[in-house]
Symmetry: D2
Subunit: 347 residues, 4 copies
Amino acid sequence: MSIRTGIVGFGYWGPNLARNFSVAKGGELRYICDRDPARVEEAARLFSGAKATTDFGELLRDDALDLIVVATPVSAHYPLVKLALEAGKDVLVEKPLALTVAEAEELVDLAKACDRLLAVDHTFLYTGAVRKIKELVSDGELGELLYFDSVRVNLGLFQHDINVLWDLAPHDLSILCHLHDEQPQSVIAMGASHTSSGFENQVYMHLEYPSGFVAHFHWNWLAPVKLRLTSICGKRKMVVYDDMERGEKVKVYDKGITENARGVETMKKIFVDYRTGEMRAPKLDHGEALAEEASDILECVKTRRQPTSDGEFGLRIMRLLDGAQKSLEGGGKRVELRGVGPGGGGS
Amino acid sequence: MSIRTGIVGFGYWGPNLARNFSVAKGGELRYICDRDPARVEEAARLFSGAKATTDFGELLRDDALDLIVVATPVSAHYPLVKLALEAGKDVLVEKPLALTVAEAEELVDLAKACDRLLAVDHTFLYTGAVRKIKELVSDGELGELLYFDSVRVNLGLFQHDINVLWDLAPHDLSILCHLHDEQPQSVIAMGASHTSSGFENQVYMHLEYPSGFVAHFHWNWLAPVKLRLTSICGKRKMVVYDDMERGEKVKVYDKGITENARGVETMKKIFVDYRTGEMRAPKLDHGEALAEEASDILECVKTRRQPTSDGEFGLRIMRLLDGAQKSLEGGGKRVELRGVGPGGGGS
Amino acid sequence: MSIRTGIVGFGYWGPNLARNFSVAKGGELRYICDRDPARVEEAARLFSGAKATTDFGELLRDDALDLIVVATPVSAHYPLVKLALEAGKDVLVEKPLALTVAEAEELVDLAKACDRLLAVDHTFLYTGAVRKIKELVSDGELGELLYFDSVRVNLGLFQHDINVLWDLAPHDLSILCHLHDEQPQSVIAMGASHTSSGFENQVYMHLEYPSGFVAHFHWNWLAPVKLRLTSICGKRKMVVYDDMERGEKVKVYDKGITENARGVETMKKIFVDYRTGEMRAPKLDHGEALAEEASDILECVKTRRQPTSDGEFGLRIMRLLDGAQKSLEGGGKRVELRGVGPGGGGS
Amino acid sequence: MSIRTGIVGFGYWGPNLARNFSVAKGGELRYICDRDPARVEEAARLFSGAKATTDFGELLRDDALDLIVVATPVSAHYPLVKLALEAGKDVLVEKPLALTVAEAEELVDLAKACDRLLAVDHTFLYTGAVRKIKELVSDGELGELLYFDSVRVNLGLFQHDINVLWDLAPHDLSILCHLHDEQPQSVIAMGASHTSSGFENQVYMHLEYPSGFVAHFHWNWLAPVKLRLTSICGKRKMVVYDDMERGEKVKVYDKGITENARGVETMKKIFVDYRTGEMRAPKLDHGEALAEEASDILECVKTRRQPTSDGEFGLRIMRLLDGAQKSLEGGGKRVELRGVGPGGGGS
């Protein structure tokens, strides 16, 4: 049995989704929908196997349609996802899940009430690099995690309607939340705007967790050299993920510290020794991340398995962005977080 | 006329100072003083031209002695510098200038009152790299400065009596203050301790300035790869200073942004275009920084010129460290700064 | 007036040529020809503005057609180019120009006799990097050239009908000949085959020139890390061209040596001092090389200017490959070269 | 029982030998000898435990002396080593073993006749990097070796009495011979001199072996960037040894090729597929190579074990240098080699 899919929104990202869902095993791309007739015509030309339409109702009314993929501007996410869920469809929606935390919460609740799957498209989780790091963390190879530090900067396209936080943070926050489940207790975000737009083009964000784990980020549209560099430090090993490397993107360092006490009882002090062993760069899967994701989502629909990046997950990211934005607006004030961890949210 | 110098403290750094002051042109190393007779004996063996002694009073009483260099543990800085200034000597003291801001202020005032030079040893300012960057900033090649971002991390020696801030921050803060004179208005510092010592081994620090300029730092003793990477972004050009590079440590990027308004009057938005030109790595002077510093200090003593890193400068660094420590202790709270800029301090 | 172009051969490279010639200013893509009807159908679908045909004669008979681009397998180059020239067409042909030096010579002579342009497609010459290096050489910034050293290795696709020399050497040899006009006097080539095919997968080639200039190459399909690294050393400056760099592919080092004699007349020896100055990475044009080439060829056709990579140039490359192959077969014996330089060929 | 050692020659390298032999376990540095009284005085000052003398005969006559280390200019190697062996001493001599192959052969024969150890100081073999690579080769992890490619270039000190071959080649040739025992059949060397001295400052050398293994080298005093890069390719894995890396100098790539035949019997062709797995950088021992060597030589003297780099080994290097020099002088002509492998030499 093939999973029948319809895509709504055929702008920047829609064609990539269509390309991957049209060839994914176990699926059938049945509709492409856009309100712009010119886009619909283009869709019809490129994907002759699917029906192209401006009428979203057509998708909702087709009882044989299983999955609706929402790739419209973010302001349309909430109404379209709501309609789709209410029509009994499973949904994959572009990030961010909605405009506000309140909308996102409502959609998560609705999906539960309707017993439908709600997935959010955080494509980075399907890259070979992140899948490998997830495996290293899950297998316990890194040991208990101590910190996550990520830098994503370059001389890049300045968005003119959002700040750099909302542009770049979803990537790193989704990787962080995927690797480390703990609920952070607070966020501090500090930014600067070097143009007259007032939108921050440089933002630092800091998360604190009850366990002592910390996460720190630097996003910047105005940097001389492009960096995509994430360090994940565990008690046993450390990982450096450098997305600008052509060859070995993920390096695992067998390095760490050991504590020991020296001196007599009353005067004893804690000394820290460090040890350093081999480094290895595991082989990564080089398949296209979006192809992996399409397969996985179709599999979830078929088997009713909850996707990795489900509504709850998308909501966690929304709450982190929301908290960071409040901190930015408060000039770097510390903002307490609630309900960001898995199973949290009962605020 | 040679400048006669005496060094007090012959522990870790003292021999380096002695080696450089014993050969610096225009100077004569007359004394090495340490309260440990074994160190005095070693000094006598290595520097036969100087008098080695355990009696600091001997230096104070020698009317022909011009300069006293204090390289003792930091707790002895205040009393020794005070005695030296009161005895009419010029002073070069290891960083940090004193244990507390109050002590440091007192020493700065005393030097003024005695009309003596007080210099603080921030050796990094004399490296070929920092001297070249200072020149680029002073010449206006970078344009107005927008931000300073510095990362100094590695798997390093954990100190067991101070946190990573007091260990590593003086290097980067001295470079920042040397390049950018503005008085910061606030500091936020966030840290984590991953050992049972409670001392932070990972600290992020953020400085905000009235002009919109920001400075951000990451110091870490528990990092998989050694990084010494500073970015200085100006309106016209940007500099990357990578101290781990063997060859080209300083790279100047002819990159930047330009703003322009598009759209009709009522709807017009600010768009940002970026431009990218050539990169160049200027030739750097490869002389030993401490040799440069010794020459410069001797020259200052001779000509009564104020040294680059004088007491006021050392005090600025102390106030930044003090503010950051308070923020750390307040869990990342924003701490207002006063008197950190040049000519500030009137608190 | 538009230059009317026909392309013959729509296999691997043909579609790239068609894409670029169909949009190049001053040109009109009129025909795409292939003997395989399936390829012709594909061409018709992708380039609806051009006429797709299996009949090469149609191109020859169209008096309004100016330029024929030959992108067939190399064995068809000779007969097709010959027909095109005899029909009065200008020709751009894929490298290598022909199967043998004799064929290539005949085509060069024929083009002259017919007064038609004959260009060979060495696309690398149109990359931003090579154009910039050519400029540096022509402007005299490097001074007299001393050597050229190039490494092009990776774990790559083993061809099963040619050795690595014929696969990779044309790239580097075309760059060398473009930058340095001198006629080499001899070639030595040394190879190894690490498979049972007998085709060399690793070849070193060495060229000697009357002036003392040398060129050396390493090509390898069986190397652990991908390298594309060329050093060009002049008396005044040196260039490193690293095609694997994302950012600064071309670096110019202001480094060199100076000689001086020391000692008394009868005992004097030559000493060599070296000097080292700044490095700079000039801004490169990032346009697609093939688009640059298409424009340039159309311009040549229009203005009757001789293209950079004309028949003579293609013939020089053929003679170098031919000499190297003879040396390989002779176990690394030195092979004398004739007629490889510009204006050479009078053998 | 301690091994009593005397060092003759206290110029550039002698003090390093003295420092290491004076602290090596199981040894006692008894003499330092130099014909220059000023050097003898310096030796006496720095190594008070040893007797400093200008009289080499004193060492020969001391029956309790076990080992003589010869660190004089190369022209004195032959007479001093000969005297030492004849006096019944074991000998460690700086590379190269002697001025000519004939002298070297005579010393090797003499050592055998006297039943004394003769070791040649190829310090590189004792670095952590080379020891690790040797282990990888010996354990069969790389599989059968296919090639060795080494580049050792920089803008360096031009020697004024030898060419770059004799300056830099001993390092790489000793590493090659240590890792691969096979006897090469021929050498081709190609050079260029870019100064008026006539001494080659740039040399390429190529070795061919009966098994199909090849080795290739590039040495250059006139290169813009310092490279110390060696690739060792085996049938199963490949190693890249980059001596300029601060961190991971040795990287092991689990990469290679597999052959398979495709097509029907009469038409079948060999196709080559490649596979690529993980990379790892093993932990290296960071001890000083010369300290390792001193310990090892003392151990050899005590246990009468033959050292890794014995007279035969030093002679192999001499024969390779001699062959390469002959090829250089013949303008890159192929020179047949005899007696370079282990157990060879019976020519």
